[in-house]
Amino acid sequence: MLEVTDLVTGYGKARAVDGVSLHVTQGSVFAVIGPNGAGKTTLMRAICGDLPMWSGAITFDGDSLRGLRSDARAKLGITLCPEGRRILSTLSVEENLRIGATPLARRHARSQRKRLVQEGLELAYERFPILRERRAAPGGALSGGQQQMLAIARALMSNPSLLLLDEPSLGLAPLVIEEVYGFLKTLRAEGLTLVLVEESAARALQFADRALVMKNGRTLLDGTAEEVRTSPRLSEAFLGEISEATL
């Protein structure tokens, strides 16, 4: 479904992603892990069009994404749940959800939009009752865990085919993380394709089908989640090379 080939991009003159490739099949869960600064978020931003790529290729369902801006890619079905949630704090919870439905509205005729958005809202409230409870509250008033729920719900409002989640467990209490992942399991069961970025490897690798380990903008390891999890090189990503001297 998603094919990234030798992607290179960065900020100013610094390369944050230096020749990374990955392949995500429909209906699977793909994890991207690595330490801080490895380039994971940059990779996500490049895939969803928030950041232009310098070289390489990204194709989605066979079509090239080159030159398409983020709103166009959202319309195609690629939605990002950004790092740090990035809830619009001046908008209410319900408005955040409505804004998330923009790509959905763009895919359909005017006559159907209202109904589709309403249905989407109902579904979101069913899945996350707390959001219904606080629908009129400003987005910024929610707790961290609630905001993560809102961010995911918002992303789902667009009815994506590919959902990118950038560090969904960031800053959340362990119990809340369980809830979030429980929900992600439901999504997977429903057939949604997920790409998950996490700094903490364990959780993501348990959940994913395939994984990519990044370090300093490059691919350190890739393969099935099992392969990556049991690889002796995994700790290298986070700790640096183990040499005779340090043993």
Binding site: G49, D50, L88, E95, P103, R106
Partner: protein, 295 residues
């Protein structure tokens, strides 16, 4: 008692123009941080159109539509051509660029129409005065007040209850996230410039109906006062623009009414001075949400 209502009416009608100007400017500031110095020049262009139309004896409704259309076209035009590359520039750079646009617009007027005043005839009925309960109200002031109320209400409805309004608010808060959510960003900017232009056209008609003449350099004061209004009210906030505009109108009326005679010539100076005092007390303005250092 009547004196109080008279003062209140005067304050509100003075404030109504400022409120509309402030709203027109705040729209652009909210979405891209642009304090459009050329806003006053949009109004001057409308004035010249009004002078021309009067000479051609054009029907009033057509005339109004034409003026609003001109302001909108000019506003969108400058948005698409000049300000497009500056989309992510810091506010000060944008202000300077808008000064450039202002120079160009003024120069164009000079080249086409030459220096000197042109008369802009005012429909006579606007000059009449109505007296209600002892309060004297000029028809123009009433129209001004009413128009401002409509503009404020209209803008409120647009921003709070329509899709495009929602998208504009989302974009104003975080344009990157708005893009990720599928919002077409160029459309938002165009819409903001267009709305801003429409308001400019409306203000122009009220303005020139009152003043009666137009010249290339226009009057700087209303533009500056609109800027001040949004700064006191709080940069970037629509509510702030309304509050700021009303406060400014209030300041001016109060000063005009209660200042000792010897100091009356300095009314404008005092108004500005009070504003500066407000800013010392509260640099982010009355309804401001951004700390001044981050914009």
């Amino acid at each position: 008692m009547t004196a109080f209502f008279q003062s209140l009416f005067d304050a509100l009608s003075a404030g109504s123009t400022y409120v509309m100007l402030a709203l027109g400017i705040t729209l652009l500031f909210g979405v891209m941080g642009l304090v459009n110095f050329a806003y006053g020049d949009l109004i001057v262009w409308c004035g010249y159109l009004m002078a021309l139309l009067a000479g051609w004896h054009v029907n009033a409704v057509v005339g109004i539509a034409a003026v609003v259309a001109l302001a909108t076209v000019l506003s969108v035009g400058m948005g698409e051509t000049v300000f497009r590359p500056f989309r992510k520039a810091p506010p000060l750079t944008l202000l300077l660029a808008s000064i450039g646009v202002s120079l160009v617009l003024q120069a164009a007027i000079r080249i086409i129409f030459g220096e000197g005043f042109r008369p802009v005839p005012t429909p006579t009925f606007l000059g009449n005065t109505v007296v209600v309960g002892g309060v004297r109200m000029s028809v123009l002031a009433l129209v001004s007040l009413g128009t401002a109320a409509v503009v404020v209400a209209g803008l409120y409805v647009l921003l709070q209850h329509t899709t495009i309004g929602l998208q504009m608010r989302a974009y104003a808060e975080d344009s990157d996230v708005a893009g990720l959510m599928g919002v077409r960003r160029e459309r938002i900017l165009t819409a903001a410039f267009a709305l801003s232009g429409v308001i400019a056209g409306i203000v122009a008609m009220l303005w020139f109906a009152k003043i009666g003449t137009v010249q290339p350099s226009g009057d700087l004061n209303p533009t500056i006062k609109a800027f001040i209004a949004i700064v006191i009210g709080g940069l970037g906030s629509v509510r702030g623009a309304v509050i700021g505009g009303l406060l400014l109108g209030l300041f001016e009326s109060a000063l005009g009414a209660y200042l000792p005679a010897g100091l009356l010539p300095y009314v404008e100076g005092f108004a500005f001075l009070l504003i500066i005092l407000v800013l010392i007390a509260r640099p982010q303005g009355v309804a401001g949400k951004t700390v001044e250092l981050s914009r």
